[in-house]
Amino acid sequence: MSKVVAGKPAQINDRQFMWCPGCHYGIITRLIAETLEELGVAGKTIGVSPVGCSLAMHEYLTLDFADALHGRAPAVATGIKRVHHGDALVFTVQGDGDLCAIGMGDAMNAAVRGENITMIFLNNANYGTTGGQLAPTSLVGQVTSTTPDGRDPQRAGYPVHMAELMATMRGVVYAARCAVNTAANFTRARKALKTAFQKQIEGQGLSFVEILSACPPNWHKSPTDALAWIAETMIREYPLGELKNVARVE
């Protein structure tokens, strides 16, 4: 008699992921599907995909989805949430260029309003889709296609710490930074995502989960070297952990 000990979450369909070898977006797609399945809320969840590689998530998840314009996912999610209120769970998935460059205003104002949505922020420290340009999250000294000599703070500023920034906002009830570079970190990320969705189910306010994610081709690293770079370099700049976990202060 055989027993299934691991399988594909029901919400992931049979299409082949388009993402590059070593990219973490496939893992994160699975993480989202598992979390929704565990909470039993997939049937009433609506996703908002951005401009960027994570846009393709709606191709692999059997969930209702709306694509937003570049940076506008929190605004689109707001429109959706204000129609369905508690009858639907709404999440956004955005990369770093989308969320904290062109979409910083939308992200911060969703937090200002304390919009009852879950924002998933994929930080891979560069613009992946367009070929590895500087992102607000690129590390000091990081070589990108638009900082060929490395990010010089005098000219290109400093990395932005979104999870910490969101944690300062009164409308945000949950902020965490996670990674999926190890099994242990994957488990922590799943717990964080579950807590984030639970906050939304309880109607407490905006929940924000940042996930560090590998981008081997644009980092010019092998998938394993990319894992090492996250562990040794990226996490030093972007410490993991729960930054905020409060109930809505009325």
Partner: protein
């Protein structure tokens, strides 16, 4: 004339069954009530002069009836919120004025591509740039030729009275749902501030297709999911670009075939026809009444839809009259469409923004100025 319909009359007849209330309200309030009568209780907007009364109307009225009002952080966000709400199948709208309408261009382009039914109202002010905060008709080309990138069309309604602002708002939502497409209402500062008697009545335009594509979670749709997207890239989008172009082209053709609306005023034996929309049409009509009193054979042709533009009707008129005078509060924008339709069968003159009574950024083209032009031409 054949092919032209008096839309206001038609609307009133269609809605005859419903109870009516008569009130004295501004054009902007008429739009607000029109939206509520059409069942639109989701409004997202950003303050900009001269349309703030609209934003404030919805802030005041929607919470009373269980609706949702958000003062967005920008026009970018406002139009994206409308997109999100429309994607859920509810009637949603925003209002703005010219610079804000430019900011909504990208969002409208996406709304056009994703085919999200909704209403955008542009209360025009003088442009380009920040321009003035006073009334003008300088957004005609932007409104009728797209506005954002990619060659989409807006269905553009051009009311000329508070009653029409009320009725057309309801019509706009009907057309939006009929075609699964957005509608733009192009008004201006004068129309918005003008107080007129309005008959408040819900209009029934007939049955509409079900919104089986709306986002409401797969549990309520038998496990089937919907993806609302403006992207047309193979492997990353629900529909291929070529299939989309074929389908949207047919949709635009159907709109051009079925949704052209216009009105004629005293054109029966006219030798000179004034062509004007919105507040300029009201001014033109007043000038025509005075010219008629002087025995001049003058009338007004008024497009109620700026896109689709009443090309055939203007062309037919060109065979009956000897000349046209376009009256519009710009350097000349609609005059291009009129000239294209007339196709050199008759001279088309322009009385534009330079004919205003005040050069300081305010003022307007007064009926007396239009009459003076009519006298010179007849």
């Amino acid at each position: 004339m054949e092919g032209c319909r008096l839309v206001s009359t038609k609307l009133s007849q269609q809605g005859a069954a419903a109870e009516a209330t008569r009130v004295l309200i501004t054009g902007n309030e008429a739009i607000g009530w029109g939206a509520i009568y059409a069942g639109c209780i989701h409004y997202f907007g950003y303050p900009i002069t001269p349309q703030n009364e609209l934003t404030e109307f919805f802030a005041r009225e929607l919470p009373k009836i269980g609706g949702e009002f958000i003062q967005a952080e920008s026009e970018f966000a406002a139009i994206s919120m409308v997109y999100g709400a429309a994607a859920c199948g509810v009637r949603a709208m925003t209002t703005t004025s010219s610079p804000g309408f430019s900011l909504m261009g990208e969002g409208l382009s996406a709304i056009a591509a994703a085919e999200m039914p909704c209403l955008v109202v542009d209360v025009q002010r003088g442009g380009p740039g920040l321009g003035t905060t006073q009334t003008a008709q300088t957004d005609y080309l932007q409104a009728t030729k797209g506005g954002g990138h990619g060659g989409y069309h807006n269905i553009v309604l051009a009311p000329a009275s508070a009653q029409e602002m009320f009725d057309f708002t309801q019509l706009a939502f009907y057309l939006a749902d009929k075609y699964r497409h957005h509608v733009l209402m192009l008004t201006d500062g004068i129309l918005g501030q003008m107080m007129e008697s309005v008959e408040l009545k819900a209009l029934d335009f007939g049955p509409l297709p079900a919104k089986d594509w709306a986002l409401r979670g797969i549990a309520r749709k038998g496990g089937r999911n919907s993806v609302i997207s403006s992207l047309k890239v193979a492997g990353m989008a629900p529909e291929l670009y070529g299939d989309y172009l074929l389908r949207i082209n047919e949709k635009y053709q159907a709109m051009e075939e079925n949704e052209v609306r216009c009105e004629t005023y005293r054109t029966e034996d006219a030798d000179l026809v004034l062509v004007a929309y919105g507040s300029s049409a009201r001014i033109a009509m007043e000038a025509v009444d005075e010219a008629r009193a002087e025995g001049r054979r003058v009338g007004v042709f008024r497009p109620l839809t700026l896109w689709p533009f009443p090309k055939r009707q203007v062309r037919a008129l060109a065979d009956q009259v000897s000349q046209f005078l376009v009256v519009e509060d710009s350097l000349g924008q609609m005059v291009e469409d009129v000239r294209a339709a007339v196709a050199e069968r008759a001279p088309v003159h322009l009385l534009g923004i330079l004919a205003r009574d005040d050069k300081g950024g305010g003022g307007m083209i007064l009926p007396g100025r239009v009459l003076q032009e009519v006298r010179e031409l007849t």
